[in-house]
């Protein structure tokens, strides 16, 4: 039940149904808490393995209570303790092996709980007046089964606004229909699209090391690089589609986590569209505070742009680093941070050379946008080798063909991504331009029923009739 399986969806729909037996916030909260505990129990099997997670939750709540009671001078220490315990439980490799717990324990969801707890602590540490968060509300927020496994990372105010509303948000046939369509779409993405992209990637990985003609190796390298970002998008965004729809059926709006990321025309824009809640969280709690500190330290206005570049690098380096505990993720972080920093420098450089107006005009030229989109995809695909592969696999892949051949492969990826994504954008815009009195035909409920039925049929055929196993949700391991 920790993936986008039919069981998970059935569980979520059953909870949503029971939750709607009454509009009372007490009832809805009781159902959500019970469902989340049942969900946790189904995942953990043995309650003993949940103790470290329970300890972390208790630590977080104790810290919250201390800060609420005015221990603001110890705020930094409290924060440091929470962060250290998280790192310790996650067994980051830079800590000595001897200090870790050696009996197996339950880690799933810890990273997302960590973000929520930290968010509560930081917000409580602000001088603004905050209302007290009770233990029940705290547990509901941190253990909510719709966001437990892989997010999205929701702010507490947004959660409380819907969950504890005296008059919950409307839930009529149209909204229910939209959610069902979204669940079908998400299920299709995870169980069909992601499965197919994963199949392409794994086969290409096996093929690239085989004694085959170099033309086939180049083709394998191309598929290997291109398939993973598409797989991850289908895998992660499909899961997010499902949980957002399930939560909405329980009258809670979760934040969007993706906004057509491959339409981004720059790497900076990409991170506004990919795993939005994570990048927003880090921008809020790392980028802006760091930039403020640096600007106070180096008040020169000429230094400000470079301080921004540096802050971007640190923020996105941390995003990369967060994904894993091994040295591969350090490189992944450097490549993410480097990508946004170079992107920012490029923008600053062009603005300086062409003037702001000139640069803005350039950024509106379709060809420039198309090539930017292709380059963004290519860079993202390149960085992902340090995301899914071990150093041994990276070595195997990059030595399978020569350096010049790799350059050719990346050039081909850039060109193909430019053309394919431009065609995709054009097709989408064209289809959306076909309108009726209610808006675009493509987003009408009739069109949605057509493609939801088609996608649902294909997904059920793949999962039930053909018993094709799809990979688990990648982000559940983080």
């Amino acid at each position: 039940v920790d993936s986008a399986s039919l069981q998970f969806i059935a569980f979520g729909l059953a909870v949503a149904l029971v939750s709607n037996f009454s509009r009372s916030r007490v009832w809805r909260s009781a159902v959500l808490l019970l469902a989340s505990l049942v969900f946790l129990g189904l995942l953990a099997h043995n309650p003993i393995v949940l103790l470290p997670l329970a300890g972390f939750l208790l630590l977080g709540y104790s810290a919250l209570v201390l800060i609420e009671r005015g221990w603001i001078r110890s705020f930094a220490w409290i924060l440091a303790v929470v962060i250290f315990v998280y790192i310790w439980l996650k067994k980051y490799t830079f800590l000595p092996e001897g200090i870790f717990l050696h009996s197996p324990y339950f880690l799933l969801g810890l990273s997302y709980i960590f973000f929520r707890v930290l968010h509560l602590l930081i917000e409580s540490g602000d001088n603004r007046e905050k209302s007290h968060i009770g233990l029940g509300a705290y547990l509901l927020y941190t253990l909510n089964f719709t966001t437990f496994v892989s997010g999205p990372i929701q702010r507490y105010e947004e959660f409380a606004r819907d969950q504890f509303a005296a008059e919950p948000i409307a839930l009529g046939p149209r909204v229910i229909g939209l959610q069902f369509e979204r669940i079908v779409r998400g299920f299709f993405k995870v169980n069909v699209l992601a499965m197919l992209f994963n199949m392409v990637q794994v086969d290409a990985l096996a093929q690239i090391s085989q004694p085959i003609p170099s033309s086939l190796k180049l083709y394998a390298a191309f598929r290997l690089a291109v398939a993973y970002p598409l797989f991850l998008y289908a895998n992660f965004s499909g899961y997010i589609d499902i949980v957002i729809a399930l939560a909405r059926l329980m009258r809670v709006r979760l934040p969007e986590n993706f906004d057509r990321p491959f339409s981004a025309s720059s790497f900076l824009d990409f991170w506004n569209r990919w795993h939005i809640t994570l990048s927003t969280w880090l921008k809020t709690y790392v980028y802006y505070p760091l930039l403020m500190v640096l600007m106070r330290r180096f008040p020169s206005s000429s230094a400000a742009p470079m301080l921004g570049v540096f802050s971007f690098f640190v923020t996105f380096f941390l995003i990369g680093l967060w994904h894993g505990r091994t040295s591969e993720f350090v490189v992944f972080g450097v490549l993410q941070g480097g990508g946004v920093a170079i992107n920012k420098l490029w923008q600053l450089g062009l603005a300086r050379a062409m003037g702001r107006k000139g640069y803005k005009a350039l950024a509106k030229i379709p060809v420039y946008i198309a090539f930017g989109r292709g380059l963004t995809f290519s860079w993202f695909a390149f960085t992902f080798f340090w995301f899914w592969a071990s150093w041994k696999q990276i070595d195997n892949v990059f030595t399978a063909i020569g350096a010049l051949q790799w350059i050719g492969v990346w050039a081909a990826i850039w060109l193909c991504a430019t053309i394919v994504l431009a065609l995709w954008e054009w097709l989408r815009a064209t289809l959306l331009s076909i309108k009726s009195s209610d808006g675009p035909v493509l987003t009408s409920r009739y069109a949605r029923v057509v493609y939801a039925s088609a996608l649902g049929l294909v997904a059920l055929v793949m999962t039930i009739l053909l018993s094709q196993p799809a990979p688990g949700i990648v982000y559940r391991t983080f």
Binding site: L178, D203, A206, E256, F258, T443, V449, P469
Partner: protein
Amino acid sequence: MNDSNEVSLENKKEAKLPRRDWILLPMISLLTIALLAGSTELIAHYMSSGSTTDIADCMVKNDPQHGARGIPNCVCWGKTLETEEVEYRLNSHGFRTGMEWGPKEPGVYRIVMIGSSIAMGYRVARNKMFAELLPGEISKRTGRKVDLYNKGVMWGTPHSITLRFDDVLAAEPDSILWVLSETDIKEASALLPLQEPRMSHAEPANALDRRFGSLRRFRMALATESIPDAIGDMLKNTGARVLLQHYLNESQSQYLKSYLSGQEEAGFLRAEPSAEWMTHLHEFDYYVGEIEARARAAGVPLVVVLVPDRAQAAMISMGEWPAGYDPYKLGEEVRTIVVSHGGTYIDILPDFRNIPNPEQYYLPVDGHPNAEGHAIIAGLLARELTSGAIPELRVHPPAQQSTLEQRR
């Protein structure tokens, strides 16, 4: 259509759904499903059309005294989504072999091959079967004239072989080559194929039934099964399913993942055979004992080979497999059984380590070796048979290149 658009759509004022939509939307959904399923099935049917018979039409399948056997001089054809039309032309004794039974020519070494569908070259043209290629391969290596009388038949299970073994010995073999698959071991004691709901010859199919085989099977299944079971069977037998499965099974990774997730199907690949598989092996042991004893009494050596299943070949080639599995395990079990009764076992499984993506030499859904697979098997068998498995055919290295080695 994007994720953020959802929010704006939801934020529109929640108006009542027009009454007509409560009828219209389900109708649109049903129509979409019907159109999609129907059109896919039609495409699949178009791709596999051209043959209304199969090897089953050339078989006697209801004789428990002798097991399944070929109808003498029968000719039938089979075409699937995965293969071109294949002719099955049986000789006057009901075997798919180019030679008629007759006394051996002087100086000719005669191998009589027994086995089931793989031995009889199911889904492969006769001139591409390893049974046809093998004599040439061996002659090339040994310089001896070799003929091979192929007595492999569909559903030629170990039990049914014991019932016909006198016929095998009557063919004057110098040695008997028994080609096995995991299915032969799993169905060691079976005599007749499982009766599928199928229209008999006495009840000719109408034009619509012939065009839509799934509907025909569904109609027949309804007579013996519950409606959900019949629907399940019909869906499993649709052309669309086969078409999709074919493309998915072409991927080594997805095929293996899917295959190993089917507990029952992959039971023979388990490192620790289940109780069910132990029973199959005990039954197989019994029939091997009987066949080997009768061959020995006739003074004919028995040589046994296990041809790997498609998934087994892929796992061996990849060199890694999930914990709890062992693609070599069944071969070791068969070797132990055969050797314990005094027979000779030749092991071609390790050779698949050196064949990249060997699953491409099998039909992705059907699972039988294709023409290239047969050529590879012929090369491997020739090498093993001339390396001492049959002393009369032994050649000393350097041996001539086999088909497999030439392929590399």
